[in-house]
Amino acid sequence: MRDVSASIITETIKDMCIRANHFLSPDMENAIHKAVKEEKAALGRQILTQLEENMKIAGEEMIPICQDTGMTTVFFEIGQEVHIVDGNIEDAINEGVRRGYVDGFLRKSVVKDPILRENTKDNTPAIIHYQIIPGDQVKITIAPKGFGSENMSRVFMLKPADGIEGVKNAVLTAVKDAGPNACPPMVVGVGIGGNFEKCAWMAKKALTRQVGIHSETPYVRQLEEDLLEEINQLGIGPGGLGGSTTALAVNIETYPTHIAGMPVGVNICCHVNRHITEII
């Protein structure tokens, strides 16, 4: 067993929250630079150029890339040979989020109750997904995600007979409905298979995969490429004001499912697709 102290988890998460909200990962940054060169619409290019300038100002002046610094999603993968000492995991994670958002001048966007809606004033609690993995390391991925795009996300409980065309239609429907509300150009995370909650989980997890890295399953890779092309044929464009760049990437995850079903989760993310991973 390897001991990992709760305070290291807290400090790591605090730092990750601040970095993720001020600096886009290189894959996302490159995708936006590439889009500026390739966008066909003049207004679209103007909007994408604003996004480039925005990233520069955010990093240089430490102003969050987007004012919606998100509800913090944490994928916490813990090696089965790790023993957490000096505190419990959940408190350590939330304390990291709290310090990151308070000390890092990030917006506190979380309310304590969905109906009563009183702000918790420190952006906690985080949404935490635990996974037990082999080994003695802790792998933490932070994805602070805004709700403009989260609100446009969908779960479709398709039938097996709907096949791959059904999946395509579901994704295209979600993207069309999202339109300008989701701050295009988007990154589209898709989960196919599993059950109701698993497909949504996979869709969110897919968004943390680097843009440009494809699925290793040949038909899934093909589907990612085909869907990206079809989405960019929709003409929605940057800001939803017309153009050839509606999505920067489509990332798909799959999982075995039941003989009777084919769940599809579509988690749409804006161009500020923040994801950052650290290993302790």
């Binding site: 066909k40 207004l43 925005n54 004012q67 990030l106 917006r107 509300n181 800001g239 939803g240 050839s244």
Partner: protein
Amino acid sequence: MENLHINAPFEQKELERLKAGDYVYISGTIYTARDAAHKRMYECIQEGRQLPISLEGNAIYYLGPSPAREGQVIGSAGPTTSSRMDKYTPDMLDRGLKGMIGKGKRSKAVIDAVIRNKAVYFAAVGGAGALLSKCIKESEVIAYDDLGTEAIRKLRVENLPVIVVIDKDGNNLYETAIEDFKRKNMN
């Protein structure tokens, strides 16, 4: 695509020359309000109480900024999704509100109220909050302080870049721009 400048609060004559698709720089005084502040203002209207701000000729920016660091006027300051305000907006337009700055589609009721009141709906670029914050020269919370980021702020802005999405005649860039683009580029 014409680049125009307009001062806020708006003069009706100036507002009426704006057309869907215009790229406009707004300077002057505008107010922020998003979900929770709209709900409170709507309740004020329903109960016949006075609103904390005058709507007459004014623009509301759908914004909940991130906190300012020392030496900054405001933190990141981009638009939030406008459709969540749709329930409250027609009443506010009927009481003199002339401009809204946000992002995303509006309901038919809002579009009808825009036409009825000869108002304008502008979009700012979503996710460009650091860039947009540089156009905000002063910021002061003037109502609903307890709402934190959702409080009503009075902003002095210089050359805030926005795009006219719905003009006084109800022309809607979200409806036309995509078809225009496809017709020109995808045939």
